[in-house]
Amino acid sequence: MKAVVIDMPPHEVALAGRDRTLLHWLSTVDHKEIGILYLLSALLFFAIGGVEALLLRTQLAVPNNHFLSPEAYDQIFTMHGITMIFFVMMPALLGLTVYLIPLMIGANEMAFPRLNAFSFWITFFGGLLLYFSFAAGGAPDAGWFNYAPLNQLHYSYSHGIDFYGMGLLLAGVGSMTTAANLVVTVLTMRVKGMTLKKLPLFVWMALVNGFLIVAAIPCLNAALVMLLLDRLLQAHFFNTTSGGSALLWQHFFWLFGHPEVYILILPAFGIYSEVFQVFSQKKIFGYTLIAASTVTIALLSFGVWVHHMFAAGLGKTVNSFFAASSMLIGVPTGIKIFNWIGTMYGGRIRFTVSMMFAIAFLIEFTIGGLSGIAFSIVPIDLQLTDSYFVVAHLHYVLLGGSLFGLFSALFYWFPKISGRLLNEKLGRWFFWLFVAGFNLTFFLQHILGIVGMSRRVYTYAPIKWYTLLNLLSTAGAYLMAIASAILVYNIFKTLRTPRMENKDPWNAMTLEWYADSPPAERNFVDIPVVESRTPLWDIKNKQKNNSD
């Protein structure tokens, strides 16, 4: 059975040669190259966001520090948050998805290749526009969730927040078009035999995530549009002195913001589902439960947003409802954790760096999840909200969950994308240094939060415990920086080695490994009909039986 073929018009003279000139990369509509562009762009912004983090931690290393002024500190922590979420994690995860989805479903392209290219470039431009704010009077400085009335012109008169609004509107359009493109691709371009029940779990997560993005980002767009109208045309949406409602901003932002965190984690769940199977050499335990619980999470994610607003004074009834729904949403995620452990049980486990990050995720994300569920108990939330306990929680789930997923994916799919295996020894140095630094920085912040340190403060008095915990936390940040440098060195060093012969080094079971490593411009010439959830194992078994 033939794979889905896109008819490309013949060129007498190629637009840009196969020798990877600048024009070729600027004009490409090939989903694999666009995926790589997303990953490279994410790497650039990761370096910038990381430098911002180091600046913050350096300022907080000792009490009464004046390394950064309060104004600079506010801009840097705001930009750190915006960068990491919107210009590192989302592009990296979406880029990986755009690279892998056609390969995993046996297609040769995405449904709308030019829209795919547009999505990348508008996201990238949104990031550039946001960073232009530094040169235009100051970056946004009201935090990544930018509450009213601080976001109003009266209180924030530099143009930073205008750039925040415009940059995020552009990035949001990019995410939405990618998501729609992915949904149409998955629903209409699967190779014959691949029913929805036989989809690789990474593809399932991408499909559900696509719907989530398309439903959640418009809420952010509405909020940003109203904010820009307030600031540029003196409208009154969030201006409390003239009849507006500051609370309305919180509602709209978190209506987007909570599904957003699931948007950040679902692709990672997909990555882990693939990694656990391959490195236990065992089919996933409880495929249906994982797929079904993902749909449940997506639906429930729109019913919990007020848990970011327990301290806003909405009253006991409202708080109780959202406390209950927030406790409920922990259940589908917990189901998945047990399914992944069940996948490992009885399998032949290979402790590659990719698998090490996946196992570390199980522990770190559970810690993050437990601190999160603690917040669903309203009295605890009222004590710990806006303290370093929240900072600890969010970094445990975002780094321990999403970022470790990216690292795991990097080590797993690097041979697919580049035809070379990343160095495992350097990878292990990277893993242990990063995990050590990560836990050092953020575990201590749970304690900092409990002893009362507020978040988003540019300095602190030499109160007991604050000094030591902050200093150690900063040390951990530098450890993570060193580890990241080792990773970048690993990537560049590996790219200089010659390509390997074996296109399927891990003995994987999904179709992307059937294509060459790296895949040719046209992914597949023909693929057999898919008969199970492990199509590549079926192909390899048939080949073995034929040759016997």
Binding site: M226, H236, S245
Partner: protein, 183 residues
């Protein structure tokens, strides 16, 4: 098939966007004292007439699509021109309403009513404008034999968008103009 699915997804996302704008409008109904301002400044009957024009444009587009499927290019083009004309008449009506309001000093920055009203109707008008641009494009393509017959799926997709814009207006019109009479 893919273009229809894509348009449905885009319509879904736009529906969420308009839902948020409508919720914002409604949240200020009491505190922003909307009712007297609507009674003083908005022309319900006239806008209702222009609403009928927009609804008629959905009907004319449906006829255009039907004729195109039967292969009757000339009739299809005529119904398409009628759709565009009715869309432009609707936008003219919106412009007239805006002009009168600004003369009476109801602007986007005057108070919460102004902000919410102009945002909700303005984004709707923008979507009508985009729809008209797309309709003109398919009119030009349909009119020239060089381009051949437009695929049915494309015509259907454009139709879905146009009907969506019409449906949103019915909801927005009810929310802004008719709500005082309903509650």
């Amino acid at each position: 098939m893919q273009s229809k699915m894509m348009v449905k997804i885009v319509i879904g996302s736009e529906a969420m966007f308009f839902l948020c704008l409508i919720v914002a409008y409604l949240s200020f109904w009491k505190s922003g004292n909307f009712q007297p301002q609507i009674a003083d400044h908005l022309h319900v009957k006239l806008t209702g007439l222009f609403t009928l024009c927009l609804i008629a444009s959905s009907f004319t587009f449906w006829r255009a699509e039907h004729n195109q499927k039967q292969g009757e290019q000339k009739s299809s083009v005529r119904w398409l021109i009628a759709t565009i004309a009715l869309g432009i008449i609707f936008l003219f009506g919106q412009g007239r309403e805006y002009f009168n309001l600004i003369k009476e000093n109801v602007t986007v920055n005057r108070n919460v009513f102004g902000s919410a009203f102009y945002t909700l109707t303005g984004f709707h008008g923008l979507h009508v404008l985009i729809g008209i641009v797309v309709l003109v494009i398919i009119l030009l393509i349909s009119g020239k034999e060089y381009f051949g017959i437009l695929p049915v799926a494309v015509f259907k997709s454009v139709g879905m968008y146009w009907h969506f814009v019409d449906a949103v207006w019915i909801i927005v019109f009810t929310t802004i103009y008719l709500l005082p009479y309903l509650i």
